[in-house]
Structure formats: structure tokens, C-alpha cells
Symmetry: C2
Subunit: 314 residues, 2 copies
Amino acid sequence: MPAARVLVTGASGFIGRWSLPRLRASGFDVHAVSTRARALAGAPEFRGTTVHEADLLSAGGAAGLIRALRPSHLLHFAWIATPGVYADSPLNERWLDASRALLHEFLACGGARVVVAGTCAEYAPAGREPCIEDRTPLADAAGEIPSPYARCKLELQRELMRAARAAGASSAWGRVFLQFGPHEPAPRLVPSVIRRLLNGEDAPCSHGRQVRGFLHVADVGDAFAALLASRVEGAVNVGSDRSITIAGLIDAIAARIGGPGRVLRGARPAPANEPAVLVADATRLRREVGWTPSFGLDAAIEDTIDWWRAELRR
Amino acid sequence: MPAARVLVTGASGFIGRWSLPRLRASGFDVHAVSTRARALAGAPEFRGTTVHEADLLSAGGAAGLIRALRPSHLLHFAWIATPGVYADSPLNERWLDASRALLHEFLACGGARVVVAGTCAEYAPAGREPCIEDRTPLADAAGEIPSPYARCKLELQRELMRAARAAGASSAWGRVFLQFGPHEPAPRLVPSVIRRLLNGEDAPCSHGRQVRGFLHVADVGDAFAALLASRVEGAVNVGSDRSITIAGLIDAIAARIGGPGRVLRGARPAPANEPAVLVADATRLRREVGWTPSFGLDAAIEDTIDWWRAELRR
């Protein structure tokens, strides 16, 4: 029997790249598709992965690649993720269309199992208890108007379930919560705080009372690989039920960096409409997928600071 | 100059005993008062502490002791804490009276600094954001009817502030959140789960979606000792802004114990009127007292399981 072959989209992204090591370790023949194939040649995460250059948003997208490779497994991360822009971007519609086309081509070519990256934004923002896959109201069913991002992800999720079932294939949907780590876009919270403090500058922050659960991004990619290798069906939170206040996270970063830069709490307004508490119930991930993170929060903070220290020295 | 002398009440209790090592390390001449002085002789936490036998609830209480010792510092933990009973017990009123008498005797004898153990139950139960000392509404100021426990603690806190100020003394009030560790009363959540699983029995639990911040109890006692040695005035949360779902905590315990016993989620009703989220904002403790915990959550879990393993073998 030949090895199962997986195609990973968005493999050059913040999360996607971290799925590759476990996919290879699980015995998959790993193929990745990216618009920046050449830039990835040297990165250790991509060792042993065949990288194909293609743009899923272009006409034809990855259809040719699917027909040529005939992967048994599909792990679909690719989507617009630009900080500050992705939630309301019209590109969400284009990614929905491209993802549909990819999915149908995969199933038409005999694909057996597919896992797609969803988002905690699919949950109704009023939820303050931990979000539970089959219990917490969804953003488009609670009288709220979801963002284009949440709406398109929810639509794709429903189409995934229908289409996979109709084709006799197996599928799951990983709802991504919060993570930080190497390669995170610099404008986001954790990198911006780390970079400023490493440079000896003050770090202006919001009130910091928001409660959030974070994973190290390498654990998020790893969890997706584990989810793909499992037989679990449907939505699964890929997040941590260990949480921290934003103020506590930032103080923990600052304590490790030391130096003259201070954390200026309350110097920035908190983003509007942000939930007070955003925490995953990780029971399905832990009990059904059998996955637990390898980084604790302190280790994740240290690893991320180390990475930025090296990055800023380049 | 003679060493500062501290009197610790409730020193044989779950939290109080853990304040003693740091008090001694900080150079205090440490005196403890307990109704079970003789039983404590062998415990390592009490080494170097002079233990006096007295009942604060009896006529005269500790007045004679205060007059004999003339402590410069007072750390007052003693209160009713019986699981399932303490919140509504009429003993709360008696502890309020006894605490007042203790406090006034201490100040009348020239006491310089006093720290008393309060409770997160002083906050209004509707709070879902992290509780902040000078911002979160208090249980008796929010149109709610506080429990006798919360009401008596709030009353004592206000009297402490007034009386200490009038006497020219310094005072602080540590609001205790959640903790677990050695010597916790067996009916409480963490010991009952650990004991059942260690015995190979199933552990029936509630839905487990509650979000809570826990400290190792040794860290709580240690934080109180640090608070006493500081000059910080007023209410200070003694809790963690790192939190976890109850389900996540119990799964983490079960994963470490292994064995045949299973965690039965949903097999018990959740306690009525329990807040969905109960998390401290630990900013004052971290930044003004300069204290951070020495146990991470995983280390706290392991230490507690180890202690119960040894305890059950006796």
C-alpha cells in the first residue's frame, strides 16, 4: 500500500508550516502548495516536504495540482489573514469560492479525508463561557451580524460537511483560537510588545482585562496534523482551556525581557466589540483527538522571545 | 534593634501554615496561635515558629497573648472555613467579633502593620471579567445580598482600614481566590477527584465549563508573607490571572494519575449561583508587592498528587 499523500494549503503561513513535521512523522507523503515556494526552501519545517508553487485564487487554482497528485488527504489552511484587514475584507468571498473549488476537486479525485481551518470567530461574540463545539451559539445564528470572515468560514464549514458526506469522505473542521510564536506578523499584539521591549522602548497596551487562551503556534499546527490523522468528524476547537489576562501575558513577557522599556497599561483603547472572555473548551481535542500541547505558557513565551531576539539581530 | 515580631492566627489552617517559611526567611520572630498547637510540633512548616495554644473565639481570646508578646506585625488568617458550611454559618458573626477584638488589642499595644485574609466572595458575583481591587463592584454594593461570610469579611475590612488609619498603623487586606495543595479538606473538588482516581474509582464532576484561576496553596501563604513584609495598603488580590476550565483542570489531574478511574463529566450538578468566570487581576500583587508564584499549574498539580499519594499510603 502506498503512503497516504496529503496536500497542505497555506503551508507557508503562520500556522500551516507547523503542521508539516508531524504529518511527515505520521508517515504521510507531504505536499505543500504556496505562492512563495522558493522562499521556503531553507526553512527547517519544510524539510522532506515537496513544495508546489500555485495561487489558489487564480483561475484553475490548485485543480491541476489535485489532478496530478491525487492526494488522499487535504489540510486546508490558506485564507486571507492580514492583521487588521482580514475580518472585513472582500477577499473572504474569493477565498470561500476558491476553497469550494479545491474541496470539490479533491473529493472528485477520490480524496478520503479533509480537514479545514476554521475560527473561534464563528462563535457568537457574547459567549463568556468556554466555547463548546456543539453548544455555544454560532455567530450567524444568534441575531448578530457576523463579519465577512466568520460568515464565509461558517458557509464553507457547512458545505464541507455536506460535500464530504455525499462523497463518502471523512472531514473535520478545526476552530482556531489564539496563538503566538515565530513568524507572527509584527503588527500583532505579542510581536509588537516583544519587539518594543527588546528595543528598550515602552509598550503601550489596552486595559488588559481580557481573558484569553493561547497556544504556541507550533502546537496549533501540530494539533491540526493530529486531527487530520484521526477519524474525528465535525468541528473541533484547536485552542487552550488554560487562559490568562492580556495584562498577565504582557507582564510575563516584560518580566522575561527586563530592560528599560515599560508596559503602559491603558495607554491604548481596547478594540471595539471584543469579548471579555475568549477561551476554548478543549475537551474534544484532548479526549477524541487525543492531543495535548507540548508548550506550557511560560515555555511558549520564552521560545517566542528567543525567536524575536534572533530575528532582530539579523 | 530587635527583630520584628509577627503573630500569625489560623497558622494551622490550609493557607496560614504556608506563610511561616517566608516570614522566618524575612527575619521575623514568628509566633503562631492555634487551638491545635501540640499537633503541629512535627510539621516542617512550623520549624522555628513559636506556637501558642489559644482559642480566638473564647472569652478573652488572644488578648492576653497580644499583651504578652506585643507583636509589631499581625497576620490574621483564622476564620471558619468548613467546606459547604462556612458561607452561611452563624460563626461568621463570631469570627467578625473576635477579629475586631484581636485587631483593636493589637493596635492598642502599638502594632505597626497588619494583614488580614479576605476573600474573592467580596466581589459581586456577576463579575465575569477579572476582579480588580478598586474597580469590580463589591458584593454588598451591587444590589445583591451577600452571604454572611462575604458580609462579615467586608465589614471587617472596612473596620481594619479605619482602625489602622486612626492608630497610625499600616494595613492590607489580601483577597484569597482559589488554591489547592497539601492539607486541603478532603471533600473539596481537587482532593476528592485525586483521591477517587488514586483509588481507581470514577470521579463524578459537573459540566466543568467554569473558568477559574488557581494557585498552589504554598504560594498563597507565601504571597501573604510578602504582602505583610511590604508597605502596600488596602485590598490586594491573592490569586492568579492564569485560569483554566474546571474540566481542563480535572483532565490534567486524570492524565497524570492514569489508572482505571474515569472522569464522569456532567454526572453532578454544578453548584447553584456559581459565577461562570472567577479570575483575579493580579496586577497589584505582581507590581506593587513584587510577588509572583513559584508553582506553575502543572507543577502544582503534580505536587498535590504526590502529597495525596503519600497521605493515602499512611
